[in-house]
């Protein structure tokens, strides 16, 4: 089947928004190089291949598979296994497949609550019979098996082995191209590939290094949500009380968000050696909370700290916005009554 001798490229989406596909196209004229080098064999967004086509490929037929999106349901997982089998290099492309990203925020609640919100309570929903996703449906031709919706959203590497990770929500075009260049060089000239399991297309230093804002010794007396404050254009956002995850997030993006006055959301994930981005972020900013000099009165101290903490309304959602599935705890625990404890 190696008809034209070109390396085979696939890109597939699972629980994701589609932004990753757009980001690949966002490499502008380099897309022509991609087309020149690769033979696209599966890319539902831009080319009409069917599942049967992929199933028909021999194992390892695909040289590079860019897999984006998290594992939300049984179909996602099935596709992950299939593409793993058919690919030589499987890349977790983008934050969703790398660490869960926005879809994994639903790990902060239960499957039932998610259904309730999405299919019943949502103001734009018209579902008078209250029908929820099923695993079976009857059609005139007979019964169809439908994907099963999981309780917990997972990252790609929690269901199959992953060769490389390309973080970002979505990954930044220059980084994408840089990674593709390495892969092309490897495939065409036999250049060495980075060690398996590497995170590619990102730096090993935090976003702050790329951020031009002026930084000082940090003490934070309270936090502001972005709409509550008009930040100084030159000063570190965190020092102004805006939660900026830049300190705990891999750089490589060029600090785009902080540069335009929006705190880093943390989409490039934790730094090397850090297992849990949220825990580290929590530790760092809690350490610099400033409650003034209240002496050693325990109660007063606690009260003052609680006042500052109250200005962070949703710590879990904030600190794990992108990394929930990959965090140590992965999800919230559903108490006996079946409801999530998260607000």
């Amino acid at each position: 089947m190696n008809d034209n001798g070109k390396p085979k490229l696939a890109m597939y989406w699972c629980a994701s928004c589609g932004g990753c596909e757009i980001s690949v196209l966002n490499i502008h004229e380099h897309i022509l190089d991609v087309d020149a080098v690769f033979d696209i064999v599966f890319f539902p967004c831009i080319a009409d291949f069917k599942l049967q086509d992929v199933q028909g490929y021999p194992d390892g037929y695909i040289d590079v598979c860019l897999f984006n999106g998290a594992i939300r349901n049984s179909e996602n997982e099935e596709m992950a296994h299939l593409l793993r089998k058919k690919s030589k290099i499987l890349v977790a492309y983008g934050s969703c497949s790398y660490e869960g990203c926005i879809p994994a925020l639903s790990n902060l609640t239960s499957k039932e609550a998610t259904f309730q919100t999405v299919y019943i309570d949502n103001p734009t929903i018209d579902n008078p019979d209250g029908i929820l996703p099923q695993t079976m449906t009857k059609v005139p031709e007979g019964e169809l098996e439908l994907p099963f919706f999981y309780n917990t959203v997972k990252s790609l590497d929690q269901v199959v082995e992953v060769d490389y990770y390309l973080p970002g929500c979505p990954p930044e075009p220059p980084q994408i191209w840089a990674v593709l260049e390495v892969v092309i060089a490897a495939l065409t000239q036999g250049a060495p590939l980075p060690p398996k399991g590497s995170i590619v297309g990102a730096k090993d230093v935090a976003v702050c290094e790329e951020c031009p804002r002026e930084k000082h010794e940090k003490t934070i007396a309270r936090f502001y949500r972005p709409y509550e404050i008009n930040p100084d254009p030159d000063l570190c956002l965190l020092e102004q009380g805006i939660i900026c995850m830049g300190i705990a997030t891999r750089g490589g993006c060029g600090a785009l968000c902080p540069q335009v006055g929006m705190g880093c959301r943390g989409c490039y994930g934790p730094l090397p050696g850090v297992e849990d981005q949220g825990a580290k972020m929590l530790s760092a900013i809690a350490s610099v909370i400033d409650v003034g000099d209240v002496g050693d009165d325990e109660k007063l101290l606690e009260q003052k700290i609680e006042e500052v903490i109250a200005t962070i309304p949703d710590p879990a959602g904030t600190f794990y916005r992108f990394s929930m599935a990959h965090s140590i705890l992965q999800r919230t625990r559903i108490s006996e009554n079946g409801k999530g404890d998260s607000e």
């Binding site: 099935e78 902060l108 580290k280």
Partner: protein
């Protein structure tokens, strides 16, 4: 609650080298008994406590985590216990969001002289955690609503690139 009757809670304690670890020493020297459900890890200071450790403990099977440090104003490193206190309070808020009852994470100020109190507080904590029942975090994550998480056909086939 399922296996409540046989349930023996596992509590991990992070102690400060200068105060609470010595309080544990003192409890020992005074032969004061407390439940064997606690296992201690020594840090130089409660300020060393990275929230990651707490999450790791819960994930690894602990039903409760005890963090102990010097009383306010008595930190061996002057004020680092305050930094721990700040992390503790924010962490507790986040753990509530993660469905972990606040009583599973306890903060205890204990000086090196408070051996008896240390034992007493450990006893109380073990009993509190016992009444909360097992946390069993591995089950929390595994549960996928009764549906097998791995597609049987594909799972068997080992994949190599």
């Amino acid at each position: 609650m399922t296996d409540q009757t046989n349930f023996e809670p596992m509590v991990v304690g992070f102690t400060c080298n200068w105060c609470s670890y010595r309080a544990a020493d003192l409890a020992g020297m005074s032969r004061i008994k407390y439940p064997p459900n606690i296992r201690l890890i020594r840090l130089m200071c409660s300020g060393r406590l990275d929230p990651t450790f707490v999450l790791k403990a819960f994930e690894g099977g602990a039903d409760g985590v005890l963090i102990s440090g010097c009383h306010p104003g008595e930190c061996h490193y002057l004020e680092q216990n305050y930094k721990m206190l700040k992390r503790f309070l924010l962490l507790r808020k986040m753990l509530i969001q993660m469905g972990i009852e606040p009583d599973r994470l306890k903060l205890l100020w204990a000086s090196a002289a408070e051996g008896a109190r240390f034992a007493e507080e450990v006893t109380k904590m073990v009993e509190t955690v016992r009444s909360l029942g097992p946390l069993n975090w591995s089950k929390v994550v595994d549960s996928n609503g009764g549906h097998a998480t791995v597609i049987p056909v594909l799972a068997k086939e080992e994949v190599t690139a």
